[in-house]
């Protein structure tokens, strides 16, 4: 039982490693944590296009916030 869970954990970890590698190759700019969130969302059947749109929007939002902060300071 415990070994099975362990093996599963290992498989998951490996998968995440592979995905991170791909993500790095493709230069997506996602770190481990956001990638794992995205993977989980995708696994729940969320439309990847929508998700990507959200991520881009979020990035833009944070950048513009930074810019505006820079301007104000």
């Amino acid at each position: 039982m415990a070994s099975a869970a362990n093996a599963n954990l290992n498989a998951v970890r490996e998968t995440m490693d592979v995905l991170l590698e791909i993500s790095r190759l493709l230069n997506t700019g996602l770190d481990m944590e956001s990638l794992s969130i995205c993977v989980r969302l995708c696994e729940q059947g969320i439309n990847p296009e929508a998700l990507s749109a959200v991520i881009k929007e979020l990035r833009k939002a944070s950048e513009s916030l930074k810019v505006s902060e820079n301007c104000t300071t």
Partner: protein, 902 residues
Amino acid sequence: MATLDQKSPNVLLQSLCCRITGKSEAEVAHQFQYAVRVIGNNYAPTFERDEFLVSEKIKKELVKQRREADAALFSELHRKLQTQGVLKHRWAVLYLLLILSEDPRKPSSRVGNYGGLFAQALPRDAHSTPFYCTRPQSLSLGHGERTAALVGSVGTSGISSLGVYTLNGPTPQSLLGGQVPPSAAGAAPTLGSRLAWALPISSSPSALAPPSARLPLGPPVPTARVIRPRQDADLTGEVHEAALVRDILYVFQGIDGKFIKMNVQENCYKIDSKVVLCKSLRDTSSRLAELGWLHNKVRKYTDARSLDRAFGLVGQSFCAALHQELKEYYRLLSVLHSQLQVEDEHGVTMCTESSLTLRRLLVWMYDPKVRLKTLAALVDFCQGRKGGELASAVHAYGKTGDPQMRALVQHILCLVSHPILNFLYRWIYDGELEDTYHEFFVASDPNVKTDRLWHDKYSLRKSMIPSFITMDQARKVLLIGKSINFLHQVCHDRTPPGKITPASKPADTPKDAAELLSDLEGAFQEKIDAAYFDTSKYLLDVLNRNYLLLEHLQAMRRYLLLGQGDFIRHLMDLLKPELARPATTLYQHNLTGILETAIRATNAQYDNAEILKRLDVRLLEVSPGDTGWDVFSLDYHVDGPIATVFTRECMGHYLRVFNFLWRAKRMEYTLTDIWKGQMCNAKLLKTMPELSGVLHQCHILASEMVHFIHQMQYYITFEVLECSRDELWNKVQQAQDLDHIIAAHEVFLDTIISRCLLDNNSRSLLNQLRAIFDQIIEFQNAQDSLYRSALEELALRLQYEEKKRQREEEGEWGVTAEQEAEEKRRVQEFQGTIPKMRSQLQILTHFYQSIVQQFLVLLTTSPDESLRFLSFRLDFNEHYRAREPRLRASIGATRGRRLSYI
């Protein structure tokens, strides 16, 4: 972290927001809301769910960036990923990564890539409908422009506004105003043209493409709306066009927008009356909102019908066709949406030239609107129809002069008629009917047994014949399948269907159906004709070869219609003593024995055994007082495939005709007997001069009767039977299918029945004829008794003379006075009966002549020409005409008329 536990998407989204923006949960509330909305709203992915395609795309992308080593590395990783079965939606994750990927050499081209992706993904799908395939030049043009768009958007700044979703947030307009990149002018037209290219039906680009696309790289024309405020309403409360555009895009899908809502009472989309809006915008948006209404209508129909199984295959394919059209429409909407999104991302930079305006939408949506309108009209017209009826309805809409509409309807018709054509091919090549929902135009009645299979089992459903199939074709189709089933079930012929008709492939794809539909007169007709000829010919061959159909037809003529003279004559000779007895004392087995004897003694014995064994005797229902003559009848047993031609009704007709002919034959036979008696007795009775008057009377009446019966027989044999039979024979030789034979046979029987005076119209004629026949029988009896008594008398006289001579030889007195007196008395007594006989004969003659006269009167008024000619033949010397004033008038009238014609 590493475990993929099932947290709710919202929680995950929130943590994602925090993670990317690097802010706390409270700060990212807006972004979070936006994220939830986007993810919740997204109706369908525009990309097919295929992992392989995605991975190929990634590789291509990497190769394009000249990173072949990385591409190899990626495929290695991808293989690793596939071996571990942890992820269920690998394509989704990969696709996400692909979308988020950036070319390291072009650090800030996110937006351009995004737009480019849409543009790449769409056109590939945009022509799944065959109709769109016919635009190669516009496709290549589009490709060139697409690359231009990618190049042009390289320089676009990644920084843009927060979008319309941050209503209350700070709007960095001052910042954005100064950041119009130099390439924006190039990007703007390409975007517009990309849209025009994605619009499905612009066969000529000039008809639809927005004006901006026609001015490539021209300087932006300054307009009044250079800067568009990113708010739905300004301070005066007036609604902005951008907000309306967004609303309209929702309305296009049948979703209520913020301002434009469905008005249930008036059944249309209306702008909220409270909204302040200038009149032209209000007008334009109402016009656009019509699309939403049309879309709803079509959508409602397909939603209601696609789950209804009883709607049948044709209905399902109609729904599928509508769905295809709607999908195309959705694709267009998604392009518009993405355009809107790109605009939002770019902010004001795009508003100058090619942004979405109501006016532009009105132009772009013009063709989709016409299409939707046609679909809606079609849906209305097809309400409550199914099967072939539905196909007819669609076909009726194809008769329009507008080539685009015609192509649209033609395409739908292809899909709709495909199941019908499939039914048709199954039916004409295999004889199988797989029509669970009663959509095909051939109906089968499972209650009908095999013996009525040809006549009753299959029928045409008139309403289900599609209007593009003519009645003639439909009949042929029915006949082909019927023949195949007949061969299998009745003839037990096990030839595989492929051998009857040369192998032909059924329409497997809707494309084949389309080809056939386009060539209904040519290929389709040819196919049906070929199948029809082959199948019918094969069926007739089987019937003639294995079931001797033609021989049976001949046999009917020979036996039931008394064609085989020697046999009939001999049979009558043998049967005469039997049939003279009362009907109740007849036994079928005796008669069957006599029949066998008659067959063996005459030429009938050389006939086919198959035919002879079917010949049988049948006794009709006996009513009191009948003699054997009244109930005797020949019978012919038919079964199996032959019974399809010789049905029970036909056999009933044959029986009636046989009885009539048998009766007429009997009269001829009787008169022969009478004549024989006269000839034999004439010499004998010469010694009795007192009889000569009576005998003369007899001779006259007898020859009158002989003349009548001869003319009748001549008429029946040559003008009825032989003529009709010849006609039948010709028709049967030329018959192409079994129906022709059956019809010819029925015509033959009908003609005979009516010409033989057996139908209802000539009942009075037949009664007269029967009375004449009765008179003949009576005359025979009268003459027989006359001859009997005469011969008796003669014998007595001879005896008397003999005795006298004997005595004289013995030397005695010839006669005593006593004997002489007795002899004299007897002779006188006999002579006393002669006037009685005379008067009896006179009555008979008179009666007979009056009946004949009536018969002639009826004949001359008969509508049938051959019957009128018969009357001339019967009264060739105007013997009866001289006696009957009515006859004189009518014959004179007809003759006068004939003279007047000349």
